[in-house]
């Protein structure tokens, strides 16, 4: 049952990405991210938050 759910999820994800015109690499990355390595989902969002904070702190530092 778990295998069927994961397989169906992967197929639907691939179809969704193909519909959006994603490349092979993007599709492979999305599947790996969500199914094989769920603990790394959203890492790019955390990285973006870190970059924003660094930019803001840089301006704060330059101002003081």
């Amino acid at each position: 049952m778990k295998f069927v759910e994961l397989l169906a999820s992967a197929v639907m994800l691939v179809l969704d990405l193909i519909r959006k015109g994603a490349s092979d690499d993007e599709i492979a990355e999305a599947i790996a991210e969500h199914l094989a390595s769920p603990g790394t989902v959203g890492q790019h969002l955390l990285d973006a938050a870190d970059r924003r904070r660094a930019k803001l702190n840089h301006l704060r530092g330059r101002s003081n």
Partner: protein
């Protein structure tokens, strides 16, 4: 109908019923997972939009007489965004880990609720696309 044939027939009906049930349950789970992936994509778009807002504000504040005072409200707003994004990502990870280990649907629903609660705190000018699902 002989007893052997009858048992075979009943076993076949039972197997078909099991397969249909599995298909229905799989379909429900897949719809939920697709919704989560879509929500994550909208969250990414919101993060990009917030990046643009912050960048624009930084440019404006660099030209201001007191850049520190100018950037402070944006920096505070970004602190709140950071808290919301971290909470949303934690909920996303808990959800996908739950899917990977075959967690109870109630646990998955709890992670979904945590995700939508986290994104409901994000500024609508950047993350507005998520708020329809959050409320």
């Amino acid at each position: 109908m002989s007893p052997k044939l009858e048992i075979t027939f009943l076993a076949g009906v039972f197997a078909v019923a099991l397969i249909l049930l599995a298909l229905v349950l799989t379909g429900c789970a897949t719809v939920q997972q697709r919704a989560m992936i879509r929500s994550e994509r909208v969250l990414e778009a919101g993060s990009d939009a917030w990046d643009n807002i912050v960048d624009q504000r930084i440019v404006e504040c660099e030209a201001a007489p007191s850049p520190a005072d100018c950037i402070e409200p944006t920096a505070k707003a970004d602190d709140a965004v950071r808290v919301g994004v971290v909470a949303a990502v934690a909920a996303l990870r808990a959800y996908w880990l739950g899917v990977a280990v075959g967690a109870d649907p109630k646990d998955l629903q709890r992670h979904l609720a945590a995700f939508y609660k986290a994104v409901s705190t994000l500024p609508p000018e950047a993350f507005g696309g998520l708020l329809g699902g959050a409320r």
